[in-house]
Amino acid sequence: MDILKIGNREFKSRLMVGTGKYPSNEIMVKVLEESGAEVITVAVRRVNLDRSKESLLDYIDLKKYTLLPNTAACYTAQDAIRTAKLGREALGTELVKLEVIGDEKTLFPDNEALLEAAKVLVKEGFIVLPYTNDDPIMAKKLEDIGCAAIMPLAAPIGSGLGIRNPYNIRIIRETIKVPVIVDAGVGTASDAAIAMELGCDGLLMNTGIAGAKDPVNMAKAMKLAVEAGRLAYISGRIPKKLYATASSPIEGII
């Protein structure tokens, strides 16, 4: 059985899905089902006091899914740590997808602050999954301080540009031991397959599915792509060559 291990958790699905930006909660529920995801991300926000009864969790089967709270929209280590703690308290989970954003326009991470926040949270017993650049040096630093997985971006969040730097992603995979989960930037099924063929251990996406014209079918496409890419990776692809090699035998030609 091909199992993804993150910290002390084990998952069969290598596709993680976000819960943001769906046309409706009903569509989100169907997307989660079709995607086969076991891990789904959520954000921590103030309760809307005018609509205090509304709760996302009413739509999510907590026995079926592992919730991964994020620290989205945090711009300092301090804010990210604070948000991580609120997420832990609200959900009773040690898991956190740690984001410290450095710039509003690109939503690229502030890696210096990320490392600082990750150190604190690891010490406090969190299972930290940091969203970071496709930078092998940073990935190694995050692994060294005890992060349970590394989540390099494929491209800017929500951009749909696909794997912008496949070579770095591959170097990251070869450099570190903990799982590499590509997070952000995947636009379509082939992007997901490429990420998995590079040897990534998993993939997290939200906009690529939620923003599609038909999110439910896109979720299915992403599931199949992740499975196909993973299978291709573990099956060992043929080397690339410039010239042809015949598939049919040369002997016995009439």
Binding site: G20, K21, S55, L56, L57, R82, L86, A90
Partner: protein, 88 residues
Amino acid sequence: MRYDRGREMFFSEGQGARGKGQVKIMLNGKTKDVSEDTTVLGLLNELDIKLQGIAVELNFGIVSRSKYGETILENGDKVEIVRMVGGG
């Protein structure tokens, strides 16, 4: 009208107004009046917020679930109540 004026006085006097029955807190970034001796649990009930999946912060420190019933809100307290929303 008289009641309103009384409240105004209370707010302008701040600390000196104990015993008037109300305290002013900052809840999720907005001011709110609650009865004196209101606990975190009382506030959540008043706001009709279910306890599942929420977290409460009081003056930047997390209030653990087991302490909701015994944590009394005081004048000037900063309270944050959060829950999960959709996100990536």
